[in-house]
Amino acid sequence: SIERFRATFDKIRENFAQVFAKFFKGGRADIVLTENDILESNIEIIAQPPGKKPESIQLLSGGERALTAIGLLLSIFMVKPSPFLILDEVDAPLDDPNVRRFTEVIREFAKNTQFIVITHNKRTMEMADCLYGVTMEEPGVSKLVSVNFKKEERTPDPIIVKDG
């Protein structure tokens, strides 16, 4: 129905503004229905990192686009949360400061949602409550090799994890 879509849309819009501001330490972001026909309209994304002019998202950098997209996907998730959220290497295009902000937001969400995060990034590994290492000593055969739990053994295995 139109009202339900409108209500959902407005909630997502609100979430998006908040999550974006957390990811970018400021700036503004919005989603806009481009046509009056709510049930058919396209949804336009406006993202403005702090200090920059509001532009079409295609002028944003690779890392800025990744953060904006993760922010929007999380905003939609918040409206209809599932008990779990799986992220597969979404941090690949991010530099260190952005990875740090990304993990802070994930940790916040993790109070109410169970996360499974696949990554090559050491900073992202550091936010783990539980860490699994997967290897393929025998080619083609995956093996689970290390299980580290909350705060007891949080040093990443240097062989498995990429150093930068």
């Binding site: 879509f5 849309f9 997502i12 008990p83 779990f84 990554t119 590994m125 860490l131 083609g140």
Partner: protein
Amino acid sequence: MLFKKLEVCGFKSFPELVELKFDKGVTVIVGPNGCGKTNILDSIRWVLGEQSSRMMRGKEMLDLIFNGGSNKKPKGMAEVSLTLLDTEGVLPTEYSEVTITRRLFRSGESEYLLNRNTCRLKDIQELFMDTGLGADAYSIIEQSQTDLILSNNPSMRRSLFEEAA
């Protein structure tokens, strides 16, 4: 609801039984390129009922069964079990712990089990109907998806919004 345990056997690059335990909070999975991390994600999609092999990078469902490697022969069956803790009592069962199992045989036959009893896929789907549990577009975020939601093709974006409404 919480994931408690995932058992993967004969699925993609996991010929032998491998068990992952989950807890509240954040579980991080690391490892070299090609070692099997995304395959674990695929196994979760699959056991939750994903019907499109393409969503798990296979041309057809049979691609999901371990097809050999090193000196290991191909397997005859893929089996994945996911055990959930029904912490809020949202599931319409009297159990506090529920295990869903999915099997695929080389013959192409499938089996579904609920707490180790054979059932239909429909039973599993109905069980999770209002819980938000399912391989929804926005419960699993892969790197290629981040670009899709920003893409100039707005229909992808539109459908995610509609799904959430």
